[in-house]
């Protein structure tokens, strides 16, 4: 089934498919008097595409921000299971870690409103995705001698494979700020992939796209999932897309988890229908 000739695995997790990768437990996040997330718990399974859906303001992006360390929830935990080669599982609570440490564990993400380095080229943006994997010290970097250079070449190989996977060869050397929106979204996905993520968080990867662009993006996400075996957690508004590509769906409404299950279960759940369509006024 896997037919691609790429040398570098993009999946950074060694957890066996089917086991729990991320265990979100009782996350509560308040901004002053507003409760953005209210005791949210669910599990993300290794090898799944896990969608988080919900109406605007339901707390989906806040949840992602908690997982990548940009927000600090008042209560709860988000336990990431990782496994080093040939050893047993170790767990880390993302809620108590600094953002750059979380990235070093392999949690990569994209943003709803593209957050790329606009003044750098596509290549530089993707190479920055390799940042956590580059090990040479500051002095070597200042002097630009042996190890720094060798490493750069190895990383470049992986970056080229990502460029190939996402079909952005033609814009390699273009500053990102000059690219069309659809390309920028793809570059952002690429930068996250270059981390060799254990868990890929995508915040509305198809927002603001037309039908054709959405289809393309859905195909890239499926490639990343099926060919590269990366576990994906994504927020999306387009129900057709969500039902098509996800294995499991969690539904948030006003900060609370109202449903969690397979796409078929969730779409027939009366609570979910109510949250999306509203309730009929009883006579």
């Amino acid at each position: 089934m896997i037919s691609r000739a790429y040398q570098h695995p993009l999946n950074g997790s060694r957890m066996p498919p089917g086991e729990t990768l991320l265990d979100v437990s009782g996350i509560t996040l308040r901004f002053g008097g507003i409760t953005a997330l209210d005791d949210v718990s669910f599990r993300v399974t290794q090898g799944h595409v896990h969608a988080v859906i919900g109406p605007n303001g339901a707390g989906k992006s806040s949840l992602l921000n908690c997982l990548s360390g940009l927000y600090r929830p008042q209560q709860g935990s988000a336990t990431l299971h990782t496994r080093a080669e040939g050893s047993s599982t170790t767990t880390s609570d993302l809620v108590r870690m600094k953002p750059h440490r979380i990235a070093a564990l392999g949690v990569a993400r994209s943003f709803q409103n593209i957050e790329l380095f606009r003044h750098l080229t596509v290549l530089d943006n993707l190479m920055l995705g390799r940042h956590v994997h580059m090990r040479h010290r500051l002095l070597a970097s200042l002097a630009w001698y042996g190890p720094a250079r060798r490493q750069e070449i190895e990383h470049r190989e992986l970056v080229e494979e990502v460029i190939d996977l996402l079909q952005i060869q033609a814009v390699r050397h273009t500053p990102v700020g000059a690219l069309a929106y659809g390309f920028q979204k793809r570059v952002e996905l690429g930068r996250a992939l270059c981390l060799q993520p254990a868990l890929l968080l995508l915040d509305e990867p198809m927002a603001g796209m037309n039908a054709e662009e959405k289809e393309d993006m859905a195909r890239y996400i499926l490639d990343v999932h099926e060919l590269a075996g990366v576990t994906v957690m994504l927020i999306e508004h387009d129900m057709n897309v969500v039902m098509d590509i996800s294995n499991r769906v969690s539904v948030l409404d006003f900060g609370a988890l109202i449903a969690d299950g397979s796409p078929a279960e969730v779409s027939s759940d009366p609570e979910v229908v109510k949250a999306y369509l509203g309730e009929e006024l009883s006579e």
Binding site: P99, H100, E115, F117, H131, W144, L195
Partner: protein, 290 residues
């Protein structure tokens, strides 16, 4: 013609040193968004530390330079940690005021330890001079240009090519995204301040040899502002072009208009640039529609 040669050489060497100090200013502005009014005083610190290490403690000049660089790194990191980090999220004007306060502290500290009288000049650049078409070209000035050019090239390459340099540019572009790809923004801030102090201190060490060690160096350091305004606050190549232009203009005005004008002309340029092209020659144009 003779005078022209002489003025050009002095202008170029001063300009190269200004470019070094300005490079540090731009590094800090780009990476952290802080306008550092104490940048000129880092020159002063460099000159005095070098003087103290070489002539008070009797180090060899090469060790004295290393001492200067070590002090610069420590100073940069400490200033970032204890002066600027508590100011994160504060109003830009408040941050500027803090750096102005910092410059007074640095200037005052130097006078507190070393007194107000000029010091003996620590000489380490080659002495002697070369006769060229009747002009006297001191070797020390040539050496200063070469050293400054090497340091500027090294830093430009570091900034555009190396992993840490690109991480600094990434932080300048988007802090949130930098965090989520595993860059420690705190470390980058500390690195920016340390490198900025190092470039200025190297400039100060060169100045110590060329012009002597006195509180007047802080006045020379002030000319960093015309340089960065001319070159563009956020442009690395702009510092080099701006430094050379301001250095040459100052010397030519001293030579052809009259002594003392070199103090005024850079600031006339500053005002003119602010009126005509406020983002400088190479700076990023920011147009906000209101």
């Amino acid at each position: 013609m003779t005078e022209f040669f002489q003025l050009t050489l002095f202008g170029l060497s001063n300009g190269a040193i200004l470019a070094l100090a300005a490079l540090g200013f731009v590094l800090i502005y780009k990476a952290t968004g802080v306008i550092n009014f104490a940048q000129g005083h880092f020159l002063l610190i460099g000159a005095y530390v070098f003087y103290a290490a070489m002539l008070v403690f009797g180090f060899h000049w090469s060790l004295a330079i290393l001492a200067g660089i070590a002090v610069a790194i420590a100073l940069g990191v400490l200033v970032e940690r204890f002066v600027l980090r508590p100011m994160i999220g504060e109003d830009a004007i408040a941050v500027i005021m803090v750096t102005i306060g910092l410059s007074s502290m640095l200037g005052g500290g130097v006078q507190f330890f070393f007194g107000t009288s000029p010091k003996e000049t620590p000489k380490f650049l080659p002495a002697g001079s070369l006769d060229l078409a009747g002009a006297t070209i001191p070797y020390s000035r040539l050496a200063a240009i070469v050293i400054a050019a090497v340091v500027l090239t090294a830093f430009t390459l570091f900034f555009t090519r190396s992993r840490h340099g690109i991480a600094m540019r990434a932080v300048a572009d988007d802090q949130q995204a930098s965090l989520t790809i595993g860059i420690s923004v705190r470390k980058v801030f500390a690195l920016a301040w340390a490198l900025a102090a190092v470039t200025a201190v190297i400039g100060g060490i060169l100045l110590a040899d060329l012009t002597g060690v006195s509180a007047n160096l802080a006045g020379f350091g002030l000319v960093v502002f015309p340089v960065v305004i001319l070159g563009g606050l956020d442009s690395v190549p702009g510092t080099i072009v701006g430094g050379v232009i301001i250095g040459l203009l100052a010397q030519y005005s001293a030579g052809y208009i009259g002594s003392g004008f070199e103090q005024i002309v850079p600031f006339i340029v500053l005002i003119a640039i602010l009126m005509v092209r406020p983002y400088g020659l190479f700076g990023q144009t920011r147009i906000e529609r209101v």
